[in-house]
Symmetry: D2
Subunit: 338 residues, 4 copies
C-alpha cells in the first residue's frame, strides 16, 4: 500500500498537548514531524517518544519544518496569533478553545482563516464523547421527536487556581462554554437570549476576583427550545458530566461515567464507585476521536466537525451570560454582537 502520511507539528506540550501528541503517534496515517514547547522537560519527553525535532519557539518551528498541519495546545493568549500565523502559511489547524476572549479578535482571525482557505478545527472535545454522540445520533433518528428542553450538568472536582480564573474569563468562558457548545450541538439552532444567575459559594476568593463558582444558565434558542445548564467548580464526588434531552416522543439521558461498575452490598447500604475524576479520565477516548476526526477531515477534504464559528457562537453566549448576571435580567445575543 502506497500512501502519504500527513505531516503534523504540535505546539505546546502541557496536559492537553501531551494527550494529542500521544494520539497522533498512534495514528499510522500521521507523521509527527516536530514539537514546540518553551520547557526543556517537555521537549525531552517528546524526544523519548521518538520526536527528534523540537523547538522552543512556535514561529521558528513553522519556519523550519515542512508540515501539512499544526495542532495548537499552547496557552489561550497565544491561540489567536498562532492560528493567524499558521493560516498565513497555508496550514490546516487544530486549536484548543477558545480562540480568544474578545469577539473582535476572534472575528479577525476567522476572517484570515477564511481568506487563506485553510481548515480550522476547534477543540470542543465533548462532541466526540461516546455518550453525547449517542444522544445526538438518537435525536437525528427522531427517537424523541421535537426537542422541548435540554439540560446539562457540568461540575468540576475542584476550582482552578485563582490566577487562572483571573485570566480565563471566568466560569462562563472557561467552563460553561463547553455546555453552551453542547447545547448548540444538540439543539441545532442558534441562541437568541440568555439568562444566568449564580454565586461564589465554595470559595470567597473566587467572588473577590469577580467570578462565581455555581451557576444556572437558561438559553432560549431561535427555534423555541430552552436549555438549562447548571455548573459548579467543586463537586466533592468528582467530575459530573450529564446531558438530558426531553422531547415530544421521549427523553434521552447521557449519564455520568464511573470508575468501574462494581456494587458492594453490606449492612450499611449499597456502595459503588465514584465518577471518573476529571476531564482527562472522562474524555480520554473523546480526545482520541477528536484527533481522528481532524485527521480524517484533512484526508477527505470534508468540513471540520467543529469550526471557528462554533467557537464564536459559544463566546457570544458566554459574554451574554456574564452581562445577564451583572444586570440581573435576560440578555439577547443581539445586545452582545451589536
Amino acid at each position: 500500500m502506497e500512501f502519504k502520511k500527513i505531516k503534523i507539528a504540535v505546539a505546546g506540550l502541557g496536559r492537553i498537548g501531551k494527550i494529542h501528541l500521544d494520539n497522533l503517534l498512534q495514528n499510522d496515517n500521521v507523521e509527527v514531524v516536530a514539537v514546540s514547547d518553551p520547557l526543556e522537560i517537555s521537549r525531552t519527553k517528546a524526544m523519548e517518544k521518538g520526536i527528534h525535532i523540537t523547538f522552543v519557539s512556535y514561529y521558528e518551528m513553522l519556519e523550519a519544518t515542512n508540515i501539512d498541519a499544526i495542532v495548537i495546545c499552547s496557552p489561550t493568549d497565544t491561540h489567536a496569533d498562532y492560528v493567524e500565523y499558521a493560516a498565513k502559511k497555508g496550514l490546516h489547524i487544530f486549536c484548543e478553545k477558545p480562540l480568544d476572549l474578545t469577539l473582535q479578535r476572534v472575528k479577525e482571525v476567522l476572517h484570515i482563516v477564511k481568506m487563506q482557505d485553510v481548515k480550522l478545527m476547534l477543540g470542543f472535545n465533548r462532541r466526540f464523547d461516546k455518550e453525547f454522540k449517542k444522544v445526538k445520533e438518537l435525536i437525528q433518528k427522531n427517537a424523541i421527536g421535537d426537542i422541548h428542553l435540554v439540560k446539562t450538568t457540568s461540575r468540576d472536582p475542584g476550582a482552578p487556581p485563582i490566577d487562572y480564573i483571573k485570566r480565563s474569563g471566568g466560569l462562563f468562558l472557561d467552563m460553561a462554554i463547553h455546555d453552551f457548545d453542547m447545547a448548540r450541538f444538540i439543539v441545532g439552532s442558534e441562541v437568541r437570549e440568555v439568562y444566568a444567575t449564580g454565586a461564589a459559594m465554595t470559595n470567597p476568593e473566587i467572588g473577590k476576583v469577580g467570578d462565581i463558582d455555581t451557576a444556572i444558565t437558561i438559553l432560549t434558542f431561535y427555534n423555541g427550545v430552552k436549555a438549562v445548564i447548571d455548573n459548579s467548580r467543586e463537586a466533592s464526588y468528582g467530575y459530573d458530566q450529564r446531558l438530558e434531552v426531553f422531547g415530544s416522543k421521549g427523553m434521552i439521558q447521557a449519564n455520568n461515567n464511573f470508575q468501574d461498575a462494581h456494587q458492594l452490598f453490606d449492612a450499611n447500604g449499597t456502595h459503588s464507585s465514584l465518577p471518573l475524576h476529571f476531564f482527562l479520565e472522562r474524555y480520554e477516548k473523546a480526545y482520541k476521536n477528536e484527533m481522528l476526526n481532524f485527521i480524517e477531515c484533512m484526508a477527505s477534504g470534508m468540513e471540520m466537525p467543529v469550526t471557528g464559528v462554533d467557537g464564536l457562537k459559544s463566546l457570544q453566549i458566554g459574554l451574554a451570560a456574564k452581562k445577564s448576571i451583572s444586570e440581573g435580567r435576560p440578555v439577547a445575543i443581539g445586545e452582545i454582537d451589536e
Copy 2:
C-alpha cells in the same frame, strides 16, 4: 385495650377522596362516620365499604354528625369555604391543596383557622414520598454539607383537560406548586426571587387559554440557595418525578420510580419498564403516610407537618412565576405580597 377512635368525615369522593377514604378505613384508630358527595354513585360505593351515613351536602353533613375532623377532597373552589365552615365548628381539618387561588382569601381563611385554634394540614403529598423523605433525612444528617443547588423535575404523562387548566390557575398553580413546596421543604428557607420562562409546546390550545405546558423556574432563597425546576405537562414515557440536591460535601438524587425492576437484554439493546404511570401509582404510599401523619398529629397534639402557611408560601411563588413569565424578568416575592 380501651381507646377512643378519632371520628372523621370525608368530603368529596373523587380520585383523591377515594384514596383517603380507603386509607382511613384501614386505620384501626379511626372511625369514618360519614361521607359527602353530590354524586349518587360515589355515595353508593362508600356504602359498599361500610359507611352507612352519606350526604349530598357538605354543610348538612357537618351539621348532622358528631365528628372530630374533616378530610376535604372536594373541588378547589370549595376549599376555602369548607375549611372556614369546619374551622368555625372546631374541627381539625385536612384539606387538599390549594386552599384558594387568591392570596387574600387564603390569608382570611388562615386567620380564621388560627382564631379557632383548630389544626389544618394541607395535602402536599410529595413530602410523604419515601424518596423525598430520604433526601430530607440525609440533608438533616449533614450528608452533603451546605446546600448549593436544588433541582426538581416534574413531568405529567399528559395535560389535563383545557377546562381544568382554565380554572386551575395554570401550570404554576396546579402543578409546579408541588415543586415549589418541595424546594422549600428541602432548603428550609423562604424564597426571595423567582425567574420563570416557558412556552406551550405540546398543545397550542394550552397557549390559547393563556397557559404554558413546558416551564423552567429558578428560585432564589434568602439563604442564597438556588433551585431550578423544570416542568412538562406531557411526558410520553409517563410520570417523571425527580429531585437532586447538590451540596458542599456531596449530592443526593431521588430517582424516578418504575413499574418494576426487570431488565431485558436482546439483540436490539437493554430494555426495562416505564416509570409508574401517574401520581396515583407513584404516590400510593405517600398518600397513606400523609393520612397517617394527619391522624398521629391529631392524636398527639403535635403540629401538622404541612400547614396553611406552606400553602400560602407556595401560592406566592406561583404567582411570582406567572408575573415573571409575563414580564420577562426576575420577580421578587415582595412584589407579589405587597
Copy 3:
C-alpha cells in the same frame, strides 16, 4: 348493584395470617365471617378490625359458621388435617405451603381434595410478585426465545431459630422450595434430576442439627433446560431475591427490590439503599395479588393459579436435593417418587 359477597374464615393469625386478613378486609367482594387462633391477643386484634366472631378452635369454627372458603395460615403441622377437614365440608381452600413434609400425606390430602371437588390454592406467593410475573409474561411473549438456563438467588437476612429448622425439613424444604416452584413456573416443564451441594457456613449450630445454610442446587428439566439456584440463610445486606432467565434470543433479569431509589454521591463513593429487609416488605403486594387471585378464581370458577400438585412437585425436588447432598451425586426425581 346486587351481588353476593364470598364468605371467608381465616385460620391462624400469625405473621402471614394477619397479612391475608388485612387483604381480605380491603376486598369489597369478601365478607370475613370469622377467625380462629389459639392466642387471645390475636383474636382481640381481629375484633378491633371489626371481626366479631372468633374461635380458639379451627374445627369449632368450621362447625359453627356458614362460609364458602377457608384461608389456612396455621402452623405447618396442622395444614394437612385442616385441609382435609375443610375439603370434606365442601369449602374452597387457600393454604400456606407446605401441605406436609411427607409425600404420602400430601398425596392423600390431594386425593381427598380431588374427590370432594373443592378448589385448593397453595401459597407460593412469589408467583404473584410483579418482578417474577413480568419475567413469565416476557417469556410467554417469546421475548428471549427458547430457555437455556434459569438462575435464581434467594438469600434471607438471617436464619430462623434452630428449633424451627429442626421441624421445617431444613433449607431445601422451608426455603429453597420457593425457588424450586419458581423454576417450574418459569420453565413450564417438570424436573428430571437434581444435584445439590452446600454447607453450614454461617452458624455451626445449623450443621449440628443436620442442616446447611448455604446451598447450590442444579435442576435438570425434562425439556433439557437447566436451573441453578443459590441459597443462603444469612445475607448481611438484607433479603435478596433475584431471577435470571437466559434464552436463545436474549436474557431477562428480575432484579432485587430496594428500600428506595435514592443515590448519595460523596467523597467516599456512591451510596444507595439496602434491599427491602425481608419477605413481608418485599412481597407485600404479592400477598395482596395472591389473595385477589384466590378470590377471583372462586368467583369465576377458573382453576387456581397454584395447585396442590405444584406443592407436591416442589416437595419431590426438595427431597431429591436432600438425598443428593447426603449421597454426593445427582438424584433422579424417579428415585424419590418410587
Copy 4:
C-alpha cells in the same frame, strides 16, 4: 534521564498479537526489536508501525536478534515449543494461554522454565480488568468478610468455528478456563472437586464434535468455598462477563460493561445500550494493564502476577469438568492429576 529500554520481540500478529504489539509500542520503556508471523500482510502492517525487522520464522527471530523478552501470541499448538525454546535462550516470556492441552507437556515446560530461571507470565487477561481487580481489592480489604460463594457468568456473543472447537479442547478448556482462573484468583485457595453439567443447545454441530455450548460448573475449594460458573457460547445481546462474591459481611458484584451509559425513555419503555460486543472491546484496557504488569515485573524483578502454575491448575479443573460431564458425577482434582 538515562535508562535502558527492555528489548522485546512479538511472535504472532493475529488479533491478540496486534493488541499486545500496539500496547508495547506505546510504552516508553520498551523497544520492540522484531516481530515474527508467517503472513506477509501481518509483517507489512508491523513495518508501517515502525518495526523494521520482521521474520517468518519464530526460531530464526530468536537466533538473529538480541532481545530480553518474548511475547508469544501464536496458535496454541506452538505455545509449549516456543516457550521451551525461549526459556532455553534465557528470555523472559509472556505467553497467551493455554501452554498446552495436556498436563504432561505443561509440566515438562514449566520444569524447563524453572530450571532456566526465566520469568513466565501467562495471559489470563481478566485478572487485569478493572472490575475484577476491584472485587479482589475489596475482598483483600475484608469488605465482605469470609467468602461463602463465588458466581461467575461468562457468555460469548457467538460460538467460534467448529474447526476451532475441535482443536481447542472444547468449552471447558478454551472458554471456561478463564472462569476457573478467576475463581482461583478470587478465592485464594485450590479446587478440590468439580461438578459440571451442560448441553449443546444453540447448535447441534457443536454436539456432533463432542462439545457443549451451555454449561454449569460447581467448584469446591479446599477452604470450603463453592463457586458456580455458567457459560454460554452464544448470547444474542453480546459479551456477558460478570462476577459475584457473597461473604459473611456482604456481597460484591462486578457488573457487565456496556457500550455507553445513555438511557432512552419512550412510550414503549426504557432502553439502553448493549454490552461491549466481545473480549477485544471489553478487555482493551485489561490487555494494556496486563502488558504493563509483564514489563514492570521484568524491570523490578518481582514475581509475575500470573504464572505457569496458574495455567496448570486451571487446566486440571477443565479436565475434571470434562470428566464430570461425561461420567455424570462430581470429580476430585486428585483423579485428574494422579
